[in-house]
């Protein structure tokens, strides 16, 4: 058939659009299939990395396999437990609070006494150059939580200095550190509320 003649017809355009959609959808499906396993592996690797960053105590189990899901204030929280000889020595879980430009998600690790081992912000959309000092690559601020427990500083001192607390804010960015402090405090309270479950005190060795 003559391509030039066909091109003017409406049906050709329909077939063209359909064909393009079909081809691109096929290409995307193929790409999705080809990359799925690798992406999952990479994300698991990321997860493991962010978990181990906030775990400064030795442990001997596979973190990704030893989890417990606990209902939190808004949604369920998945808690990863680090064990040493069967006993839970530390827990790691995600916390989040509303920042300046969206949720600030952090990973925090606590030892069995409820002391903060480490906090890392894993996802945020804060202003580059201002709020992003919460990243360890761009500032030391995030380390100021280490060794703190609920009650030391006192509950009302778990705030940025502008609000009468003990944690620094940044020049030009108060909302961002305020959000991180709030989420860490919330995480500590969550730990206190669910302590027996998180530490697996009832169940014993699995």
């Amino acid at each position: 058939m003559d391509l030039e003649k066909l091109r003017g017809k409406l049906v050709y355009q329909g077939i063209l659009l359909g064909g393009v959609a079909l081809l691109t959808a096929g290409a995307l499906a193929l790409a999705d299939h080809a990359t799925e396993a690798d992406i999952r592996a990479a994300q698991e690797q990321d997860m493991k990395q962010s978990l181990t960053q906030v775990l400064t105590v030795p442990y001997d189990n596979d973190l990704l396999k030893d989890t417990v899901t606990v209902p939190g204030e808004k949604s369920d929280v998945t808690v990863y437990r680090a064990r040493k000889e069967g006993k839970v020595v530390a827990v790691v879980f995600q916390v989040q609070a509303q920042g300046y430009a969206g949720p600030v998600v952090s990973m925090m690790g606590l030892d069995s006494a409820g002391k903060v081992l480490g906090v890392r912000v894993i996802k945020h959309k804060e202003t580059p150059g201002l709020g992003d000092k919460i990243e360890p690559a761009k500032g030391d601020w995030i380390h100021s939580f280490e060794g703190k427990v609920l009650g030391e500083p006192a509950a009302d001192k778990w705030a940025v200095k502008k609000d009468g607390g003990v944690f620094d804010q940044f020049a030009g960015a108060t909302i961002t550190p305020r959000a991180v402090v709030k989420s860490v405090k919330g995480g500590l309270e969550f730990f206190e509320r669910n302590k027996p479950l998180l530490l697996d005190e009832a169940g014993g060795v699995k």
């Binding site: 393009v20 691109t24 995307l28 990479a42 150059g129």
Partner: protein, 226 residues
């Protein structure tokens, strides 16, 4: 033919630069140029997509009718961007963690569609690919320049965190231009982007006007001599 490629190169890098002449792609330009490294990352990712989309559009140009070209181009570009996105995520995950943010933004860059429409659909595959490459490099140049100026004035550094984007061998790029600098917030915030772009646009106009005046000054005595 070589003259043609020269013309394309000049067009992409200066005369018809996406940012400084066409004023296209302002969304990513304003959004990511808070530092030179960010500008460079966005520019390189866009260059890759521009190159591929121009070549693709050019190679199917005889099949596509004018009436439905826009949806076809948009689907092709979105597909390319998604392919780049998932393959980087799977096979270059460390790079993806740095560039991931920019890649999805490329779809919102109307310059990609603009080049498909204005150039690739009328040109051969080689020329279209060259145009994509040069337009992309021009875009990269513009973004890195704007990012660099904003970063130096705003934070006193240049190419901070470049090792995250380019690997640790490029850590030497990271310089502190003004030590003990408190920072000038306005330049990092969105208004800084508009200010810098405005001054750069004005500067380019002045340069072009001077060049035109010089060309005219040379042409007149020649005409008189004839």
């Amino acid at each position: 033919m070589s003259g043609n490629y020269g013309r394309i190169t000049r067009d992409g890098l200066w005369d018809n630069n996406i940012v400084f002449a066409q004023i296209l792609g302002m969304c990513p330009t304003m959004a990511v140029t808070s530092s030179a490294t960010n500008g460079l990352g966005m520019g390189l990712a866009t260059t890759a997509v521009l190159l591929a989309s121009n070549a693709l559009v050019s190679s199917v140009r005889h099949l596509i009718t004018p009436d439905v070209r826009i949806p076809v181009y948009i689907v092709l570009i979105a597909t390319l961007v998604t392919l780049v996105d998932v393959s980087l995520n799977a096979w270059a995950h460390d790079l993806y963690k740095v560039l991931g943010l920019y890649i999805a933004l490329i779809v919102a860059n109307c310059a990609v569609l603009g080049r498909a429409e204005a150039f690739a659909q009328k040109a051969g595959v080689g020329e279209a690919a060259m145009d994509g490459l040069m337009m992309g490099l021009g875009f990269t140049l513009a973004l890195t320049l704007i990012g660099g100026i904003r970063e130096v004035i705003g934070a006193g550094t240049l190419f901070a965190n470049a090792h995250l984007l380019l690997g640790s061998s490029f850590a030497f790029l990271e310089t502190t231009v003004i030590p003990e600098y408190k920072g000038y917030l306005l330049m990092i915030l969105p208004p800084g982007g508009f200010l810098v772009l405005g001054f750069l646009l004005a500067g380019k106009r002045v340069l072009d006007a001077r060049r035109a005046a010089r060309a005219a000054a040379v042409a007149i005595p020649e005409a008189a001599a004839n």
